[in-house]
């Protein structure tokens, strides 16, 4: 890419040369010169005009030479672009996949901006596209971003107030946000060398979490022993450099979870996964086009698209024996040894052994097929 960028600089250089030495100015100059000469010496008319004719010839051939050079450099570059960027999306496009669903897509876009805290863009878009956004969502995200802004400047109070207010719902989701916020506030006081305040804060707030976070509270109080040098003590890990970012993330995640939404914008996830998948989809669709089929008309993609861990949302169990994906009719079964295969494979394996004792394909353990148990991922 670097060389490719540098090649373009050469084109720009040629363009700059033409820009600073304007062909029209050059022509104007020579005509003016001839005119001045004639004014100074009217008897030189014929000689000056002949000279002018010649100069025009040389200057203009120079100009067209420069133009040609720039043109050809640019058209060469344009061809190089075709060679460098070869992803031909046309085969992968299905113009009808979203037919009659424009408004769903547009609502998703508007919500995407609201979710990013980009309220003005979201509103402008909704207005231009004639959408009605749910007021309640807007209010909720405004509340969320106010709290996040406060967290960014290390002010934990709004987040604490919110999490105490939603304590029961948060606990139902095994959230530890409220405790983490108190913990953070306590550590902030210690870092600011306010030992007495920190102890008072702990007395006032840790009690409620005594049974759930016993270990952690013991450590938090233990670090008082090293109050003046926590960073070089066994408690150094308590002061993590990205604690603030972690808390922000935990808060947005829990906040979104409480209003039943994902923590990341679904549009962002889908488009990012889609761009990653495009090269594979393009390759596949051009092969399929040659066979006169459309990838988007299939019930299942014929190729596997690898997802990064953070975009895997459902458990996929592919039987290591049959390579088939588990279904309700063909569920995953765990044998005594803990290895899991699909039911159909288990049945097939046990058919081939007379006494019903089958050997696990992945370890030496033998067991009865009836001992295998359904597992649910």
């Amino acid at each position: 890419m670097e060389a490719f960028v540098k090649d373009y600089d050469k084109v720009i250089k040629k363009q700059r040369m033409l820009e600073t030495n304007d062909p029209l100015d050059r022509l104007i100059n020579i005509v003016n010169e001839a005119k001045d000469k004639i004014r100074a010496d009217p008897s030189s008319v014929s000689a000056s005009l002949t000279a002018l004719g010649k100069t025009i010839k040389t200057v203009s051939s120079g100009i067209s030479e420069e133009h040609k050079e720039l043109q050809s450099a640019l058209s060469k570059y344009s061809k190089a672009i075709d060679k460098r960027f070869t992803g031909d999306m046309i085969a992968a496009i299905n113009p009808h996949a979203f037919d009659n669903k424009e408004n769903i897509l547009r609502n998703t876009i508007a919500m995407h901006f609201i979710r990013q805290g980009n309220f003005e863009i979201g509103d402008t878009f909704a207005k231009e596209a004639g959408l009605k956004l749910p007021e309640s969502m807007r209010h909720k995200f405004m509340e969320m971003f106010e709290i996040v802004e406060a967290l960014k400047v290390n002010s934990l109070e709004p987040a604490l107030e919110w999490s105490t207010r939603h304590r029961r719902e948060l606990e139902k989701r095994s959230s530890i946000l409220e405790f983490k916020l108190h913990r953070q506030r306590y550590l902030q006081l210690l870092e600011a060398s306010r030992k007495e305040d920190a102890i008072a804060y702990a007395k006032q707030n840790f009690g409620y979490f005594g049974t759930r976070h016993t270990q952690e509270i013991m450590r938090l109080m233990g670090c008082l022993l090293f109050f003046d040098r926590i960073k070089s003590s066994p408690y150094a890990d308590l002061i993590a450099p990205n604690a603030n970012a972690d808390i922000q993330h935990m808060f947005t995640r829990d906040f979104c979870s409480l209003i039943g939404l994902s923590c990341e914008s679904p549009l962002y996830i889908s488009v990012t996964v889609g761009t990653q998948a495009m090269p594979t989809i393009i390759k596949m669709s051009s092969i399929m086009k040659a066979k006169k089929t459309e990838w988007s008309q299939q019930s299942e993609l014929p190729v596997e698209i690898n997802l990064t861990d953070d975009t895997k949302f459902h458990s996929i169990f592919a039987c290591p024996v049959s390579k088939e994906q588990a279904t309700d009719e063909n569920p995953p079964m765990m044998m005594v040894c803990g290895h899991v295969i699909c039911k159909e494979s288990l049945v097939k394996l046990s058919r081939s052994v007379p006494n019903g004792r089958l050997k696990c394909p992945y370890c030496p353990t033998e067991s009865m097929s009836s001992q295998a148990k359904n597992v649910y991922f």
Partner: protein, 396 residues
């Protein structure tokens, strides 16, 4: 760590770089054409002046005046070219900025890095602005481009002219679009466009609708006959309209009179316009979204008991609805996601089965046990177990 395959992802950026380079090229061509014409004119004029002065038709003063006229003509051209030249520097600069944007991308090592997240968000905004421009939401597009400081990364101006032409077509006027056809004659020929014929046909149909037969015939003679070699069949069909009233039930004349033909013309213009300017025929948003939704879509997405709020396809009112007609993803390899923490189970975070067969990740169960005195509650069944009862599961 997820490495980025830069070359593969860069290969998708063809329009991004090609569009400004081609705009630069075409402005340059325009300028060059003007200057060449001017030089030819200049050479002629000077030689004429020279002749006239030799034959004594012009004296020295008259020659000076004539030369002055040349200078003012050159200056006028210079002024007239200001816009073209501004375009040249704009698109040349824009190409440079875009190349740098891609170069930044090549320096990002992994998909998990913050830099990749930032770059991807800019890319998403690019994709969204492209969508808005195509759908005619120019206000939001400009606002977003401006507030995100990415005006050089999007092509707002390129939609100004086409929006005007579409507006005219929406008001049943062909002339703006015909003018555009004329300006782009050679490029349209190259892509074998029949847009101009469709427009001519439509103008004829409108005359026939008003029952102005004489005008219609005159129009056809002038504008339709040049197409007879390639479009004889359509030509005779459309001529036959003169014999049928606009409310005819007879096909194909009923169809020719149908106002919905105008919509076809608009889409024909759009696709020609996109092809000429190297835009993809469909918005990138639709293309990438289809690929992404398909890659994410699983049978579980449509089963309420398997719903994951973090999964885009699982939302039955938004993206899930968009994905209904798309293919499901396909997997040859297992990947097991913890229903408590959302984390992937692997060697670092083993899958553990409860006595009821439900599997969760070790980390999530351990945290739950530590908060609840060693007890675990299965979130899907409500059954309570002791942490000691869980059993390792092996997924190969």
């Amino acid at each position: 760590m997820n490495k980025i395959n830069h070359d593969q992802l860069l290969s998708l950026e063809h329009p991004f770089i090609k569009i400004p380079v081609e705009k630069f090229r075409s402005s340059l061509k325009t300028e060059q054409k003007h200057i060449e014409k001017e030089i030819a004119h200049l050479t002629n004029t000077v030689s004429e002046i020279s002749k006239k002065s030799q034959h004594g038709i012009m004296d020295a003063n008259q020659v000076q005046t004539a030369l002055e006229a040349i200078v003012s003509r050159l200056s006028t051209l210079k002024r007239r070219l200001t816009e073209t030249r501004a375009e040249e520097s704009l698109y040349s600069q824009r190409t440079k900025v875009r190349l740098q944007h891609l170069q930044e991308f090549t320096a990002i090592p992994t998909l998990d890095s913050d830099e990749f997240g930032r770059w991807s968000r800019v890319r998403l905004n690019r994709i969204l602005i492209d969508y808005m421009l195509r759908e005619g939401f120019r206000e939001t597009a400009s606002y977003l481009a401006k507030s995100e400081n990415m005006e050089d990364l999007v092509d707002i101006e390129l939609f100004v002219q086409s929006a005007k032409i579409e507006q005219a077509l929406n008001k049943y006027s062909c002339s703006e679009c015909l003018q555009w056809c004329n300006e782009n004659k050679s490029s349209l020929k190259k892509i074998k466009s029949t847009l101009e014929f469709s427009l001519r046909e439509q103008e004829f149909i409108e005359l026939a609708r008003e029952r102005r037969s004489q005008d219609a015939i005159a129009y056809a003679k002038k504008h339709l006959t040049p197409w007879q070699e390639t479009h004889m069949k359509e030509l005779s069909q459309v001529m036959a309209l003169l014999a049928f009233p606009p409310d005819t039930k007879c096909q194909p004349y009923k169809r020719l009179y149908d106002k919905s033909r105008w919509r076809n013309i608009i889409s024909q213009f759009r696709s020609n316009n996109f092809a000429l300017q190297f835009f993809t025929p469909e918005p990138l948003l639709n293309v990438t979204l289809q690929a992404g939704l398909s890659a994410l879509k699983t049978p579980m997405c449509y089963l309420p008991e398997h719903r994951n709020i973090n999964c885009p396809v699982c939302d039955p009112h938004t993206l899930g609805l968009l994905a209904t007609d798309l293919p499901l993803s396909h997997h040859f390899n297992s990947s097991i996601v913890c229903r408590i923490s959302g984390q992937i189970m692997n060697e670092d975070n083993l899958p553990m089965a409860l006595p009821n067969g439900y599997v969760y990740s070790y980390n999530a169960l351990a945290q739950m046990a530590s908060l609840n005195g060693g007890k675990i509650t299965c979130p899907r069944t409500g059954a309570v177990f002791d942490i000691a009862q869980v059993k390792k599961v092996f997924i190969s």
